[in-house]
């Protein structure tokens, strides 16, 4: 929506005829605006409808076509799963439609379709942080019964990412958790954040790289430490708990790390890929990144010298992390809900979850897959990954999550870049999150 593109060139060129025509133009514009405002008010549907629920038994008798929509299929997992499912099922045909090159674009496209009640897509591949926003808008089918039926084969932390107001609005497809990559010839295995930072400051080539740009990734990097230090953003009642000693400790710790050389100031400009590229130069000791980096690092000269570890614990606390990953959400406007249920049954099955790891290097949502011999061969760090996934927690669950995350990453960034004191940033963060939660 480019609402703010003015039309000045037209005005300055046509001014010979302007005085008289302007009145007419104004009249037309006014009429159009009135017309629009008249229907604008009525166009919005009134109140949330009671969300329909998915029936777990319906998958067995499904037939027809299922269209799955989501972000560009970089690893091939979405198309691959759709093809394998179609072949295995025999009655239902699934196809994958890419509707956005990046996560942000895909979200915009999905929101547009959901707002317009489009029936184009039966299933959406949704980022774990979208659940509450989409569910609160009544856009998704309630999957509580389906999730309950499949619960014994899904890792509990991944199921939690689909929860909003005591109901489940999606099924986890594959998950994601941060890992530490380290140069085992230069630095020690990370046991605690304090030890990692101390080790990183010891020599110029030992430094730690993470994602410190002002964006969602910084929220994740910060929360990973905050959770391990025992802090939280919102408690179970949804009250704001960010104004805490833990938040201050973590902020001071991160900002000291930039000053004493544990982390290069360049991390303030890094998102995932620049962080990986910097690490690949061999000038660093530790890197925080996602599992997909494993395969990429293996193709570099660092292949023989790097190792993988789960995120470390806060000194005196326990290891934690932040869950990423993607869920399968059924559109409330799907015309083939049974087909969508059948697809979910297949995609989350223990058998297919092994392929998720082996064929596409993604983290399965089925615990048994991590100890499967064939998986371990393709994904030697599966044990570390499982530890990270099981210890990880979801990001704050709220329909205004984007605002909460902005409040976090903007204020954390201000402390790291040295433009705000820890105290001011913590107070501002708490204030902004409280305001966001009070959004209409």
């Amino acid at each position: 929506m480019d609402l703010n593109r003015p039309a000045f060139p037209l005005q300055s060129q046509n001014n010979a005829a302007a005085p008289r025509n302007r009145k007419a133009l104004a009249a037309t514009a006014l009429a159009a605006a009135l017309l629009l405002s008249a229907c604008g008010g009525g166009a919005a549907p009134q109140g949330a409808e009671q969300a329909a629920a998915a029936d777990p038994a319906s998958g067995a008798n499904a037939s027809g076509a299922v269209n799955i929509c989501g972000v560009k299929d970089a690893s091939g997992i979405y198309k691959g799963t759709a093809e394998a499912f179609t072949k295995a099922n025999g009655k239902v045909t699934a196809k994958y439609t890419e509707i956005g090159a990046t996560t942000d674009e895909a979200r915009t496209q999905i929101v547009q379709r959901l707002e317009g009640k489009s029936t184009e897509c039966d299933l959406f591949i949704t980022d774990v942080i979208w659940t509450s926003e989409f569910a609160s808008q009544g856009w998704l089918l309630d999957q509580t019964k389906l999730v309950e039926a499949n619960k014994d084969r899904l890792i509990p932390s991944t199921v939690e990412t689909t929860k909003y107001q005591d109901k489940y609005w999606g099924s986890p497809f594959f998950t994601n958790a941060g890992l530490i990559y380290y140069q085992k010839d230069k630095v020690a295995k990370p046991e605690s954040w304090q030890q990692l930072y101390a080790e990183a400051a010891k020599a110029p080539g030992n430094g730690y790289v993470y994602q410190g740009k002002q964006y969602e990734g910084l929220t994740v990097n910060f929360l990973e430490m905050l959770y391990s230090a025992g802090g939280e953003v919102l408690d179970d009642q949804g009250d704001v708990k960010i104004d805490s000693k833990e938040t201050r400790d973590v902020l001071n710790f991160m900002s000291d790390g930039l000053k004493n050389g544990s982390a290069d100031r360049a991390v303030l400009t890094y998102n995932e890929d620049p962080a990986r590229l910097a690490y690949e130069s061999g000038d660093f000791g530790y890197q925080r990144n996602w599992p997909h980096v494993y395969r990429l690092l293996n193709a570099t000269p660092l292949a023989s010298s790097f190792a993988v570890a789960p995120l470390p614990a806060w000194e005196g606390g326990k290891a934690s992390g932040v869950l990423g990953g993607w869920n399968l959400a059924i559109s409330a406007h799907s015309t083939n809900q049974a087909g969508a249920v059948a697809f979910i049954d297949y995609a989350t099955s223990p058998e297919w979850q092994k392929h998720v790891a082996m064929d596409y290097s993604q983290a399965p949502v089925n615990e048994a897959a991590y100890s499967d011999a064939a998986v371990l061969q393709k994904m030697p760090f599966a044990t570390e990954l499982l530890a990270s996934v099981k210890g990880a927690k979801p990001r704050p669950i709220s329909p205004v999550y984007p605002q909460i995350s902005q409040a976090i990453y903007k204020n954390v960034y201000a402390v790291l870049s040295g433009t705000a004191s820890t105290e001011d940033a913590v107070q501002k963060m708490a204030e902004e999150i409280t305001t966001a939660k009070a959004s209409f």
Binding site: L277, S417, F440
Partner: protein, 314 residues
Amino acid sequence: MATKTLQPGRAAPAKTSGRDRAERRLAFRMTAPSLVIMALVAAVPIGYAIWLSLNQYSVRTAGLSRFVGLENYINALASQEWWAAFGQTFLFAGLSVSLELVLGTAMALLLNLAFKGRAVLRTVVLLPYAIITVVSAITWQTMFQPNMGLVTNVLSTLGLPGGDVVWLGEHGYAMAVIVMADVWKTTPFAALIILAGLQVISAETYEAAELDGASKWQTFVNITLPLLRPAIVLAAIFRTMDALRVFDLPFVLTRGANGTESMSMLAYTQLRENRLVGEGSALSILTFLTVMVVSVIYVRFAGGNIRDVAKEEQ
């Protein structure tokens, strides 16, 4: 608006006779289709955005909205974020447009010289302008990457200051990169407009100056610059309007960090990321009004002279 000063030589309409009126009606009927199209293309979206900006749309409950009048505007104007973005956008526009005009004039003067392959060069200089902004932003980001970027590497190899600076991670430096990226991309555009202005200055004026013994510098200051003014003003209007709406450069390079968040970025964040449709629309309209006020000022104080200057000098 400055419409009056822009219509020299147009006689005041005589007393309106019946025939005049008929003709005027005919004229109106003939222009009506284009007026309707203009209304649909320009006025309707703006009108709709204004309507959206007077409401709030719930982010918690589907389909819930309420009319709030000017509340979204009041909140925006009371917020620190808006004024920070406002100042930063103007700083960016001021710096980049001044540099573009100076460099654009220099470039136009060079391109106006007679030399072999001039036609080809005139096309080639437009190349940066043809590159998609997001793509060029990513290129600039790579060049200023600490440790491995082209610029930072060259600077530190030569022992020049700035080699060890994290350009996109520091206040001031980040703005400098964004200004550079914009100047690099759009100077050719300014140059082309100014070149067009140069070409309409008649050779006789220069010959006369030469006969009178004017130096090159005197010729430039007393003839070229005044006659070029309309073209420079035009380039300034176009560039300022674009610069005040800047979005893609800071979005890619810094995500608005380190004092580079623009008015458009703020509107985008509210509208798209936070789905605060009313609040975001109010910010869009405020951006729109800011740009409109600035261009009206331009037309009034600088643009109004476009014809006058040309006439005086003839």
